[in-house]
């Protein structure tokens, strides 16, 4: 909170030495998973290509989740062809809070968040007002493939608006924060909270400047925070401390994420989960090629954890057993939790 904070002083001096680097030997010692190793040893070995559409298409993920009783933001409507836009419009007349997103969008593009109504029509999360005509045009843009990879025709999903959990209200700049969990063979091996910032334009996308906060797999408490691959201690927009965050409903969240393994069959998976004020953890989307920055936010490498699970003689059959095993094996070194024992 103060400038004399030792960690912020340390990170300040680090910024001064411009060509900071870390030797491959050190990376190896830390067990850091590199891009090549991830692709060759994990993604291509554990993720079957035919299963990719299950996670690349958000509508398929959603329908699959419903079949496996995995909680997701409620699906209100799907628009598949341009002439269905009109019927969607009639259906949406009754609602004042919803989200329109492309099923095959990437990087948060084409997502329109409606939080209320005013005289002109609707209000976006950013505060701008949107007319119904503009909404209809947005939906037909989505359907015609404006936001999908390669411009293929797409579907527009209309779903319930997730309401931000009060815990995160002070640490996220607009946008709802989400929790990324890396699942290996259904074991939650690492977790991270992603917070939107002004520079990420309200999107929880690390490449665009969102903050990643590493989470202890045992408690859901923050370990370290990273923005643009550098360690930080405060939210750059709100100024709130990031080192004492704790994600509520942590266990429920782990259960939800871990059951995605059975749902998709993908061995190396990233599950993005949001916390709804009313409904608790909801699965937002899945990712078959989850990024590697999560390791820095956890101040730990993924490799030892993945190898730990690969070395198992037989995998634990149930979600609960897998979570117990993961907590036992991958809990963060309990330095900060010690005082809690006496309180």
């Amino acid at each position: 909170m103060t400038t004399s904070d030792p960690t912020s002083a340390a990170s300040a001096t680090k910024k001064d030495s411009r060509f900071d680097w870390i030797s491959p030997r050190q990376l190896k010692k830390l067990g850091m998973l590199g891009m090549n190793c991830r692709n060759v040893r994990y993604i291509s070995r554990y993720n079957e290509r035919r299963l990719y559409p299950l996670v690349d298409d958000k509508l398929q993920t959603k329908l699959l989740a419903a079949k496996h009783s995995v909680a997701v933001p409620e699906l209100i409507h799907v628009v598949s062809t341009p002439h269905e836009v009109e019927s969607a419009y009639e259906k949406l007349q009754e609602l004042d809070k919803f989200v329109v997103k492309p099923a095959n969008g990437s990087g948060g593009k084409g997502i329109l968040v409606i939080v209320g109504r005013d005289d002109n029509g609707l209000i976006r999360s950013s505060g701008e007002s949107v007319s119904w005509e503009e909404l209809k045009r947005h939906m037909s843009n989505v359907v015609s493939g404006l936001f999908s990879l390669g411009g293929r025709t797409d579907q527009a999903i209309v779903e319930d608006l997730v309401l931000i959990d009060p815990v995160f209200e002070n640490v996220s700049y607009k946008g709802v924060p989400d929790i990324r969990l890396i699942l290996f063979q259904g074991y939650p091996v690492m977790g991270m909270l992603r917070l939107a910032t002004q520079s990420s334009d309200g999107k929880a996308n690390l490449h665009q400047g969102a903050i990643g906060v590493g989470l202890d797999i045992r408690t859901g408490r923050s370990i370290a925070a990273v923005q643009h691959n550098e360690l930080i201690t405060e939210h750059p927009d709100t100024g709130n401390r990031l080192d004492e965050l704790e994600v509520p409903n942590w266990h429920q969240l782990l259960r939800l994420a871990s059951s995605c393994y059975e749902m998709t069959g993908l061995g190396y998976l990233g599950a993005d989960i949001v916390l709804d004020r009313a409904r608790g953890p909801l699965l937002l989307e899945l990712n078959a090629r989850p990024g590697l920055t999560i390791q820095v936010t956890n101040q730990a490498g993924l490799k030892p954890r993945l190898e730990n699970i690969e070395a198992l003689e037989s995998y634990h059959p149930t979600v609960e057993e897998r979570i117990d095993y993961a907590i036992e094996q991958f809990a963060h070194a309990p330095r900060r939790t010690q005082p809690d024992l006496f309180t």
């Binding site: 990376l27 090549n36 070995r45 593009k109 665009q208």
Partner: protein, 497 residues
């Protein structure tokens, strides 16, 4: 995932096959390893002159044999009105010209081209039994006396020949020798004496090769058989023991030229040495068992020169992405840009590429407001790109910048796609990402270009296409590389270290 063993075996096999084929083609077909290597080629012209009697005339010329140290690569003849055939005579090939009604002074030409190649060996056949030599008196006594004096000091035919040669060249001559040399010229006498002593020897006619000599004659030398080879003895130069700059022309029966129906005949030689690129002397093409690019028509060959550079570019991309961690827009777009640079040269290429993409991006930002479907958008961009290129070409021509005209070498569709990708990147990830990926693409393209323009790489890629197997092996190895990328060394600096 396949086993490590078989995979490494395949990689090793590819490497071995590539290198072995290259070595083989170099030693067997003399494909040079480096560009610009030149070899001396001797062009020797035999000019036959005679006066025809007016009836049927026939000319027979002994042709030079296959011999060590020289590779004869071509022969040709110029002889107006004469019928020309070659035939295998006793021991040597013969050229035969004939004409029914020849009158007056006649000139015939026969030309060969030979490469001086010190490593080149022609296997030699064992000569026939030594013929009986008949001496008349007093020559028999003289020869016997000389041989009896010399023989105890010699071990074989060669040493005997050297001893005899020494005595023949000693001044003053001993009287036996002098008697013999009056009867026979030295190159004829020496083999006679050697044969009498029981060694196989012969008189040969050869040509001293000296650049730009004209109207030279053949010179007679002596060869002694030493059980494996004919060894040369030069009566005029005792030190000489190799056939450097000496082209054997006649090794069998004496007499190089035979003219029937003519008189006053003579054969004279002119020669010239030229340096020619080794590549033009490669004798692969039609008679090799390997499939060869040289057998293609020239137009296709020059196309393959370009195609064979693509794997080099692809390798650069693989290297940059897997080992370094460069982000490029469109996986192999940098290779295509590099190929365009090959046509435009680097600097004009870079400038015009940046100009077209920049102007394209501005126009594309307007197109994005029109909400066009993808295919229509790309098609529009293709036309826009053609428009930009035309305008730039005309402008640069008007301004007198001829370099600007090479802009039209850029592949239009690739440019259109590049603009499209960059524009999407701009909208989705901001201008910073455009700079990173666009800069990365250009950087990789420039590296690929610089490699592809290396004369050595250009030469190897086309003349040793089998080396691409080695490149393939390396790419396969990189495909299984699980170590860190160079960029990850700075990306993970947030870790405790």
């Amino acid at each position: 995932m396949t086993q490590r063993g078989p995979f490494l075996f395949i990689v090793a096999l590819l490497l071995l096959a590539g290198i072995a084929t290259a070595l083989f083609r170099h030693s067997e077909y003399r494909v040079p390893y480096t560009p610009g290597t030149a070899q001396a080629v001797w062009q020797v012209e035999a000019r036959i002159e005679f006066d025809a009697d007016g009836g049927r005339s026939q000319v027979v010329l002994t042709l030079p044999p296959e011999q060590s140290d020289f590779r004869i690569i071509s022969e040709s003849t110029a002889s107006a009105g004469y019928g020309y055939t070659t035939e295998q005579g006793t021991g040597q090939r013969l050229a035969r010209w004939s004409k029914l009604d020849a009158r007056g002074e006649q000139t015939l030409f026969y030309t060969i081209e030979a490469i001086a190649d010190p490593g080149y060996e022609v296997p030699q056949t064992k000569p026939k039994a030594i013929p009986d030599i008949v001496w008349e008196e007093p020559y028999r006594t003289a020869a016997d006396t000389v041989l009896n004096a010399v023989l105890p000091q010699t071990a074989d035919g060669y040493t005997l020949a050297r001893q005899l040669l020494q005595r023949m060249n000693t001044v003053p001559l001993d009287q036996n020798m002098s008697l013999l040399l009056q009867k026979w010229p030295l190159p004829r006498l020496l083999p006679r004496m050697l044969q009498t002593a029981g060694y196989n020897a012969r008189t040969v006619a050869a040509l001293d090769l000296e650049d730009q000599r004209r109207r030279q004659s053949l010179r007679e030398l002596v060869q002694v058989w030493d059980d494996t080879n004919w060894r040369l003895i030069d009566p005029e130069d005792e030190e000489r023991n190799n056939s450097e700059n000496l082209l054997l022309w006649q090794t069998g029966q004496p007499g190089v030229l035979e003219v029937i129906g003519g008189s006053d005949s003579k054969v004279l030689f002119s020669m010239i040495s030229q340096n020619r690129p080794s590549l033009s002397l490669v004798d692969e093409g039609n008679n090799s068992p390997l499939v060869s690019l040289y057998s293609l028509p020239v137009a296709e060959q020059s196309m393959f020169k370009l195609i064979m550079l693509l794997p080099v570019g692809a390798f650069v991309v693989v290297f940059m992405r897997i080992l370094v961690g460069f982000r490029t827009s469109g996986t192999f777009m940098p290779v295509l840009i590099a190929l365009s640079f090959l046509q435009t040269e680097l600097l004009p290429g870079l400038v015009s590429f940046l100009l077209v993409v920049a102007v394209g991006l501005v126009i594309r930002s307007y197109l994005s407001a029109l909400n066009l479907l993808l295919v229509a958008r790309i098609a529009t961009l293709v036309i826009v790109v053609i428009g930009i290129i035309s305008v730039f070409s005309i402008l640069s021509y008007q301004l007198g910048l001829i370099g600007g005209l090479t802009i039209s070498f850029f592949p239009m569709i690739i440019l259109a796609w590049t603009i499209e990708r960059m524009s999407i990147l701009w909208e989705e990830d901001g201008p910073k990402e455009v700079l990173i990926q666009g800069g990365g693409s250009l950087f990789v393209a420039v590296i690929a270009y610089l490699l592809m323009t290396q004369p050595l790489i250009e030469h190897l890629a086309f003349n040793f296409p089998e080396l691409h197997l080695c490149l393939l092996a390396l790419i396969l190895l990189l495909g299984r590389y699980t170590g860190y990328r160079l960029t990850e060394l700075t990306r993970f600096t947030g870790m405790p270290h």
